[in-house]
Chain length 154, copies 2
């Protein structure tokens, strides 16, 4: 029988971006922008990615960090307040084996001409298949990629 375990973790990442809340929000809401900085930010083979940015909308992607194993992520948007807040529930899985389930909350606030960006992720890492440190490092890399996207756009 497979050993079952859950590691519960919460982490917060804060950034200040030199772009308005409307532009930061658009980097999530606009499929082309989201594709550039989020989906294609690494050189991983992407099998597919489906955008559906609306409350109740579900996104799904398959990608391969090592070029062999396919990881599926599935996201449900739970709350969207334009230019202010995005909340989503995500699972990562390999086949039928879930690696993690998480609740992610993005809060945007004006900070001068820019935006204070606060990302809070509550995650359950399952059966030793993923870990909090790796997840947080992955998110920091993504938000660097978001910063590069915002620099291109402004």
């Amino acid at each position: 029988m497979t050993e079952r375990s859950v590691i519960h973790s919460t982490f917060v990442i804060e950034r200040t971006y030199d772009a308005s809340p409307a532009l930061v929000f658009a980097a999530f809401a606009d499929p082309a922008a989201h594709d550039r900085w989020f989906v294609k930010n690494q050189d991983w083979p992407i099998a597919e990615y489906r955008h559906d940015f609306r409350v109740g909308g579900q996104e799904a992607g398959r990608f391969s960090p090592d070029g062999t194993t396919m990881v599926h992520n599935e996201t449900l948007y739970q709350d969207i307040v334009p230019d202010r807040r995005i909340i989503f529930a995500t699972t990562m899985a390999i086949g039928d084996a879930r690696l993690s389930a998480s609740l992610a909350v993005i809060e945007l606030e004006p900070a001068g001409a820019g935006t204070r960006f606060v990302y809070t992720e509550h995650a359950a890492f399952l059966d030793g298949r993923d870990n909090p440190a790796g997840r947080e490092a992955g998110c920091r890399a993504l938000f660097d990629s978001l910063e590069a996207e915002l620099r291109r756009g402004t």
Copy 2:
């Protein structure tokens, strides 16, 4: 403009039930049992409740704690391991205004002839419309109701 705020909270409730993990699991998996202890445990008017207990399945209910305001809850099952684990993402809303978004993890372990039940909820309470203390009290009442259901069944 509406004031926007997020209160992040994590709480854990542990119980030991005098019923096997298979019976505790069945109280979630079986629509009739779930209806008895979860949906109809309070004397609230229930407008509807839809069961869909499978990974990727979505449940939705509408109920009225005060007999006037309709609260909608929507749940997505993210991970299910029979007799061991249930993970789901839930939102509560009044109309288009979300009260909360949460990630709930239930872990079941054999404890003698019974079950150690551990419920962990990570929740974001939105715009001052709900609060951690009320949610935790509501969950404790539900797990009392679950205990009564298990006593009826065993």
